[in-house]
Amino acid sequence: MTTMTYLEAGKAALAEEMRGNPRVWALGEDLGRGGVFGQYRGLAEEFGAERIVDAPISEAAIMGCAVGAALAGTRPVVEMRFSDFALCAVDELVNQAAKARYMFGGQSKVPLVAREPVGMWRSSAAQHSQSLESWYTHIPGLVVVMPSTPADNKGLLKSAIRCDDPVVYMEHKDLWGLEGEVPGGDEHLVPLGAARVALEGSDVTIVTWSKTVHAALDAARSLAQSGIAAEVIDLRTLWPWDTETVYASVWKTGRLVVAHEAVTVSGFGAEIAASVGEECFGGLRAPIRRLGSPRAQIAYAPPLEDVLRVDAAAIADAAAALIR
């Protein structure tokens, strides 16, 4: 175990995988100087400009190039800088990366990882704050991963790089500085598709991911003070998601809150609520509550931005209301 930040954990994961496999390389803007958040700092020095590739501002080319590079036998790790800019490369990700294996009848896989930092990061406003994970869960062929802790950022990124499917890997910009214990050694892999029960409880299930896991844990602590035992499930992988763990928890508690930072409408919370509503119908003791951002663009002014954030108090209120 070592203490490191979420940012360092991601960097360590990439470095280890690059050391272990010469076919792994990374491409994105400003990577030679460490990337926009410093999450690549030092890697160009270790691996050279051939494997830590400094790209022009060409998100479409970065993603499209990764598709071709994956088809031709390498394992590119794409850096999109802000997930919002990945919207300049949707054809490349959705029409190409996600479909090539299928439409060519399995002649090739497309092992690429698209790192797309997501989420509100104080006053970044409408074009630099989005969380569009639910989009990618809707696209056949894609795997979607959203780590919430340093340990998971290391273990999940390593698994994503080893995965033969195109993986949309969404780190949260507000978590870069978060410190935590990270298991050492090259073989700290967190399996894709397995949720983590972050806190056990019997009264209500809170399913969440990414930064909102921390708000949910805060909420659970305050609920505990009112005698309510919340179970907090960190989904970690959104596609495929761990229905087994979630359904088992809901059968146990009979109550579910799904909380995420993304817009509620057609957010991934809808998929979870719809699935649980169908699969655990007889076990639900209250309606499933979804908490997400209202369907509004994200504002710059801090108080306006905060109106759109799901915080611990909102989660605790929603959970408590299901029990009352």
């Binding site: 060409s58 190039c65 054809d91 056949p140 699969e279």
Partner: protein
């Protein structure tokens, strides 16, 4: 036209290759007319010299990226016509298992990494394949063929810029057939055109008469040589004409028959044949080549017609390694969805 010192053997090979492409598409059009091709077909009739002239200079393990109009490129790269025909008919044993069809024809076994249904998308993919090839250092080169319509999409700029700044081993071929669907590209393409754009991106272009297969062959030979020598990306502008409609069902009323007739007079296969005759190859030899090509492709079509539909379970293979759907009833397992297999409305085996 008469050129000195013609390599008649090589030119005869081109003649054969072009006849095979033409015959393949004629067979496919026949199948379409019979209702056997369920999806769209984009014929390359009149453009065969590009396919043959380019691919004659590529090794089997060199990589090729093509477009929606890619039958010729795929055949010329060495793919099996029967597997291709099965693909067009959506049958088992198609080169993509019946899952891609004409617009996604591919044969990775001969380095043909796919046609593409999105205009221009193959340019970035080709740059990426070339990036991988350079990283791996295995000596392969990549060729990317795209249309004159593609030069108005962003990936043209982004892909060529990428290839140049990283000095990648890739040949860009703009197969300029004068049209993008029903639109004359000249009307929607600003400035002097594709070659000038390549030049502005640091890739000096070469232009060639795309209905003259030897000219294409020779131009590509030099460019491929330069690329193999580590010279970075090259660009070829191949000027030709789309003799058919955009798709097999497009009657192309937006142009006169006079215009099209004049272009038929430049048919690359006829020109190649005439040149071979002038060089002493007999009409009988050429006829035999034509007939062999037609027979080969008719046989491919017959075999495809006789082939069964793909097994229904194939709808769920090749989706992805983890989280793929499982064709089963609902249940509390990750990634499982309910799937009903309906009866195919079109009967297999050529009876449709």
């Amino acid at each position: 036209m008469r050129r000195p010192n013609i390599d008649t053997e090589r030119l005869t090979r081109h003649f054969r290759d072009m006849c095979r492409v033409r015959a393949f598409e004629e067979a496919a059009l026949k199948a379409l007319a019979e209702g056997l091709v369920p999806g769209p077909l984009h014929p390359s009739i009149g453009q065969e010299a590009c396919a043959s002239g380019v691919c004659a200079n590529l090794e089997c393990d060199d990589l090729l990226l093509s477009t929606h109009r890619g039958h010729g490129h795929t055949l010329a790269k060495g793919a099996d016509p029967e597997a291709m025909m099965r693909e067009l008919l959506g049958r088992a044993g198609g080169c993509c298992g019946g899952k891609g069809g004409s617009m996604h024809i591919a044969d990775f076994g001969v380095g043909m990494l796919g046609a593409n249904g999105v205009v221009g998308a193959n340019i970035e993919i080709a740059a990426g394949a070339a990036h991988a090839v350079k990283l791996l250092g295995d000596g392969r080169i990549v060729t990317c063929i795209f249309g004159d319509g593609a030069v108005n999409r962003g990936p043209f700029l982004e892909g060529l810029n990428w290839a140049r700044i990283f000095d990648l081993p890739v040949l860009f071929v703009c197969e300029d057939n004068t049209f993008a669907a029903t639109t004359r590209t000249a009307a929607v393409t600003a400035g002097p055109g594709p070659a000038a754009r390549a030049e502005s991106l640091g890739i000096s272009p070469v232009g060639v008469d795309g209905n003259d297969v030897l000219a294409v062959d020779e131009a590509v030979r030099d460019l491929v040589q330069a690329i193999r020598a580590g010279g970075g990306p090259r660009f070829l502008h191949v000027k030709t004409y789309r003799l058919t409609g955009h798709t097999a069902t497009d009657a192309a009323p937006y142009r006169t028959t006079e215009e099209v007739d004049a272009q038929w007079a430049l048919d690359p296969i006829a020109r190649c044949g005439a040149e071979l005759e002038a060089a002493g190859i007999t009409a009988e030899t050429l006829d035999a080549i034509r007939t062999a090509a037609a027979n080969e492709m008719d046989a491919a079509l017959e075999a495809a017609k006789a082939a069964p539909w793909p097994d229904l379970s194939l709808a769920f293979t090749d989706v992805q390694d983890i989280g793929a759907p499982v064709p089963a009833g609902p249940g509390p397992l990750a990634g499982i969805e309910h799937v009903r297999a309906s009866t195919p409305p079109i009967a297999p085996g050529g009876t449709a």
